[in-house]
Amino acid sequence: SAPAQKGRQSNRSKQQKAVQEALKAAEAGSDTLGLSKEGCKKHELYVSFKELGWQDWIIAPEGYAAYYCEGECAFPLNSDMNATNHAIVQTLVHFINPETVPQPCCAPTQLNGISVLYFDDSSNVILKKYRNMVVRACGCH
């Protein structure tokens, strides 16, 4: 919402000051924390049909690398975090009003399919393609 005409100047300087403070807090935060929270990225996760004891009916594969997304979508988002424009704004607002606007989510931005070859009850053989089974890339939404 646009600030009232007469108080515009003082408002603007107030906002800039808040952003400066936010930037300082961000730098300080990551230093004092010591462990800078990891940014949003893909992590290993392997679904093993073998460990589920399904090798008598699943011919191939033995399992598949599903991966998962985890990590912070914290201000300032750097370029390799696949952040949407909306997520960048939301991150900023979260900093200014952390209790009103949550941080964006770290979630898959690209998913791949897999194929599974298996026997049915009558020993017919089925090859089935499944979509959206494997995380290819993560990002901030």
């Binding site: 290993e44 009916w57 011919i59 690398a65 070859l117 009558s122 053989v125 089935k128 393609k129």
Partner: protein
């Protein structure tokens, strides 16, 4: 690119699961795979439906297929025919969401086998030896030198439409006195099987083969399989007839056709390609 050690290190089960947890995980993953329960194939099914051909399709479609799966499975089916995936099959595969290969459920007795089996049961009815009609259950109602096949296409993925179907039968090389003997292989759809007369047949497809040919003979069964999917009661199976160049019916095995005997991976089979008609929503659990 995904190395094996990662696979072990990052498995999703980091500790011994309690049986209840394991069952829950299995149920959840089965529901993602669209299966109501985990299949229980017959331990040593006599006829499994062309796994090598299907494994070739699998390796065609899944680029990150684990090479081990292929070699592991290939080892199991050592010495089998390499069921060639034709360019046409690859096109069907690109467009399909599911591919199923079906086991031939007819006992596979040919007319000749039937006659030998029945000759000590009762004398065939009067009439020329060639049109011996025998009673008995359906898959024995065949003419001599006629091979019956029956595939149960009633249990197919819900909400999926057939985009293509092929009947495949393997032909071995046979050494002929005169190497250039030719045969004609005809596949018929059985339309009716009246109890007291010959079956009514519809010619679906024909192939002329040389005695010296070997490999898979492929017959287009798209229209027939679609009919059987829509009206299962019309699924009375197929008849395969082999004729020599003089038009005389011969036992298919005479031309090297493997109609039911032979190695596991040279069994005749039906392969059907399906495409999803409607998006399947998984019920909330």
């Amino acid at each position: 690119n995904f190395s094996v050690d990662n696979e072990v290190g990052s498995s999703f089960i980091h500790r011994r699961l309690r049986s209840q947890e394991r069952r829950e995980i299995q149920r959840e993953i089965l529901s993602i795979l669209g299966l109501p329960h985990r299949p229980r194939p017959h331990a040593h099914a006599k006829h499994t439906a062309a796994p090598t051909f299907m494994l070739d399709l699998y390796n065609t479609v899944s680029t990150e297929a684990e090479p081990r799966a292929y070699s592991r499975y290939r080892a199991v089916l050592e010495g089998q025919a390499s069921a060639a995936v034709s360019p046409q099959d690859s096109r069907f595969l690109d467009d399909a969401d599911t591919v199923m290969s079906f086991v031939n459920l007819a006992s596979g007795a040919s007319g000749e086998d039937v006659r030998m089996i029945l000759s000590d049961i009762h004398k065939p009815s009067a009439g020329s030896p060639d049109d011996v009609i025998v009673d008995g259950d359906r898959d024995l109602l065949v003419q001599p030198h006629t091979q019956a096949f029956w595939f149960d296409v009633s249990r197919i993925p819900e909400g999926e439409a057939i985009t293509a179907a092929e009947f495949r039968i393997y032909k071995d090389f046979i050494q002929e006195r005169d190497g250039n003997e030719t045969f004609r292989v005809s596949v018929y759809q059985v339309l009716q099987e009246p109890p007291d007369s010959e079956a009514a047949l519809l010619l679906l497809d024909q192939r002329d083969v040389w005695a010296s040919d070997d490999g898979w003979l492929v017959f287009d069964l798209t229209a027939t399989s679609t009919l059987w999917q829509l009206s299962p009661e019309q699924n009375l199976g197929l008849h395969l007839v082999l004729e020599d160049r003089n038009g005389h019916k011969r036992n298919p095995r005479r031309a090297g056709l493997l109609t039911g005997s032979g190695p596991k991976d040279k069994q005749p089979f039906l392969v059907v390609f399906f495409k999803v008609k409607a998006v399947r929503f998984r019920g909330a659990r």
